[in-house]
């Protein structure tokens, strides 16, 4: 699903954020990216959804060569990838149901279509929030907000889920609930890549761990 060969990422002309990264993540895998602050975890994820260009090396995502991809194709690449951040990134002025509809509309679907609404409702019940569908994000707890973000990431049925420190703002009980959702999505077929420095999470679920340090892979 995700293949990197000798990938380098350089910031500000001379700062090597990632050096010589080679890794393969197969379809249906669940992978942790770990490492101390500044190791390059976020940078690695940004490369995958083409939030940043690779400076050297090759990178393939879902069969697409990201070196050769053209700007207008990037949105279509991202429709295969669900992205989740530490700070949820929900629209505060829309209800959580509208937040989900928004993600469907963005990829060209008609928000007034009944099937679209049904899908939004389904994905909200999947994360256990259908009863709060008309609440505004700020009225929910952090764990609930993150579940909405996951629902949004899942609604367009992406092949890959990228999560950058998804439980960073949550306490450990909530973190475990969230982790279960990722686990479940993985079981249903999604490839999950989750960056975190929370050892508790990593120890709880025994998955492959890619350890980064100063931009290099330690073991794989």
């Amino acid at each position: 699903m995700i293949h990197m060969y000798h990938v380098h990422k350089i910031y500000d002309r001379d700062f090597q954020a990632l050096r010589d990264i080679t890794l393969n993540i197969e379809k249906g895998e669940f992978v942790f990216i770990t490492g101390p602050s500044g190791a390059g975890k976020t940078t690695l994820l940004r490369l995958i959804f083409r939030g940043e260009k690779v400076d050297r090396g090759q990178i393939l995502v879902k069969g697409k060569n990201l070196i050769k991809i053209k700007d207008p194709e990037i949105p279509y690449l991202r429709r295969h990838i669900g992205i989740i951040f530490q700070d949820f990134k929900l629209l505060p002025k829309q209800t959580i149901f509208e937040n989900i509809l928004f993600a469907e509309e963005v990829i060209g679907l008609n928000r007034k279509d009944i099937n679209i609404k049904k899908r939004a409702w389904e994905v909200l019940s999947y994360v256990g929030l259908s009863h709060k569908k008309d609440s505004f994000p700020l009225r929910l707890s952090g764990g609930e907000q993150q579940r909405v973000a996951i629902a949004r990431a899942l609604v367009n049925k992406p092949a890959i889920l990228l999560a950058d420190e998804p439980t960073g703002n949550l306490d450990s009980d909530m973190a475990m609930e969230i982790l279960e959702l990722f686990e479940d999505a993985n079981v249903k077929g999604a490839t999950v890549v989750l960056a975190t420095h929370n050892r508790e999470l990593i120890n709880r679920l025994r998955h492959r761990e890619i350890r980064l340090n100063r931009g290099k892979i330690l073991n794989s």
Binding site: T42, R46, F49, G51, E52, D71, P72, P75, Y76, L77, R78, R79, I83, F85, Q86, D87, K89, L90, L91, F102, A103, E105, V106, I107, G108, N110, R152, N156, D164
Partner: protein, 307 residues
Amino acid sequence: MILLRYISRSFREAIVSIKNNRGINLITIGTFTISMTIMGGFLIVYVNFNAVINKWSERVQLVIYLKDDLPIKDLDEIKKKIFSDSRVEKYTYISKDEALRAFRKRLKDNSGILDGLDTNPLPASFIVTLKDDLMESDYLKRLAKRIEGLKGIEDTEFGEGWIERFETVTLFLRFVIIAIGGLLTIGLIFVTSNTIRLSLYSRQDEIEIMKLVGATNWFIRGPFMIEAMIQGLLGVLLSLVLLFIIYRLILFRFEYSVAILTGFAHISFIPIEMTTCMILAGIIIGCTGSMISVGRFLKCSTISKSY
């Protein structure tokens, strides 16, 4: 169908955005109104000035003074020469007597001076006017040169020389309008692109999320373009209303004096074609301005660098 949905969505979003950023939108619309009013004011002056000149240039004429006691043959020769020129509209023969009568009229109260005359000192003349194409006093001069060579011609003279002066003024006015129009257009594009950039900033999060879930650039761009086009349209419409009010006021307050000044009775408003052009310009300027700023914004804003 998809295009229709795209447009209707863009419209809906644009209107929401205008409602949410009322302040900035009013500012842009205001700036449009101001600039277009200035532009329109110039157009009104230009249009009317042009009309006045056209009126006046009816007086562009060549006067050919004839020698006294000219044989019929020479007279016919001259007539033929004048008439054969394709651009001459008409020529009028003024006899010595007619000339004296006209002169008497011009002297008005002082015409008593002429009473003591034994002979009529004024020459007979042809007055030649050209066809429509009024701006070419050069042509008239060339015609005069050609005719001067003929036998029996005492002198030639032009009607007042006003036209020449006003040709330059019209040229100048046209130059000013184009210059100001150009400047205002650039200024307006600047201003709209600025406003749009402000509304982009205020919707940064939303745009980031759109990019995150795979929105195409056109999807993001749509509402902003419509927003700017609405701004441009409203601005121009407002300026037209304003111009019309100003126009009525001028008509009311200054018509009489402008009329004596120009010798022309009616001041007209901007003609309908130019009005249409102004409206189109507003929309296109809005569109261009938004394209520029959204383009730049989409290029430089990458997703969520939360390092």
